[in-house]
Symmetry: C2
């Protein structure tokens, strides 16, 4: 796709972010998922209006696109976001296997208006013992057994 | 809460992971959200059965708990997961502001049975230019303007 097309879809994501602020539906973020030059799904941040801390624009758009295409595998799709995806949304894009991501505002610009994206990037990269949220492994033999059952399961669908 | 209680709820998450494999609903993962010693919500991995790449056990449990408690803020809650949360789920826990996370299997044990959790941890920590998925900033003045509108918006709800 040409640079022009990228800007076309990115501007669409930005318009969604603007509408989200004017309608007071959630944070100033919008995203779209595109495949073969066609818009598949769009999303905006609905954290506060839906009471769903995972309802970031990119997650909303990825969930909608997957439902529409009836697959958990968005290979061949491009994600456009008005802002750099936070680690939750970036990881969602990896799990969904999108081909590429384009964004307008950076995590630093999001931090400047009070969002924790950059802080969470820093946290995710830390060893468990240095994190601000207490996180601890309590190993259980039965949990590992489930992994073994999964490995030999004939009905498993790998994703 | 005592160590006993932690194991009680962690074992519940592990049982969910076992059921998920036997019912072939998705990956071998289960999670519960607990507040004041009471189970608020549970979740299992539904990626393949729902065609939703974001439907990891922890995300499912966090979304359900938020809906049930009618808030995007899960302060005071503890997240128990049969496996170390991937960066998507860990970040979701940060956005939800849970107090603590306990898990059984590690990201390395998940990698050993074919899951990308560890790989995505490594990717999220890399500079944009070194990532395996192409990711690029295309700055747009109108995107930054939206951030400015958000800052002065009187109807915004900070999360």
């Amino acid at each position: 796709m040409s640079g022009y097309d990228h800007l076309h879809f990115l501007k669409r994501a930005v318009r969604l972010s603007a509408e989200n602020v004017s309608k007071a539906k959630g944070g100033p973020f919008g995203a779209v998922v595109v495949k073969d030059g066609k818009l598949i799904a769009s999303g905006s941040n609905l954290v506060t209006s839906l009471n769903d801390p995972t309802a970031h624009a990119e997650v909303v758009a990825i969930r909608k696109a997957s439902a529409k295409l009836k697959t958990f595998d968005l290979s061949g799709c491009i994600l456009y976001s008005s802002c750099e995806p936070c680690p939750m949304c970036l990881s969602a894009a990896y799990w969904a296997r999108v081909d590429a991501i384009y964004f307008a505002n950076s995590r630093e610009q999001a931090a400047a208006i009070g969002f924790s994206d950059k802080e969470i990037y820093d946290e995710v990269a830390k060893p468990l013992t240095e994190r601000s949220i207490q996180i601890q492994q309590l190993p259980l033999p039965e949990a590992l057994e489930v992994f073994e059952h999964w490995q030999i399961s004939v009905s498993k669908i790998v994703y």
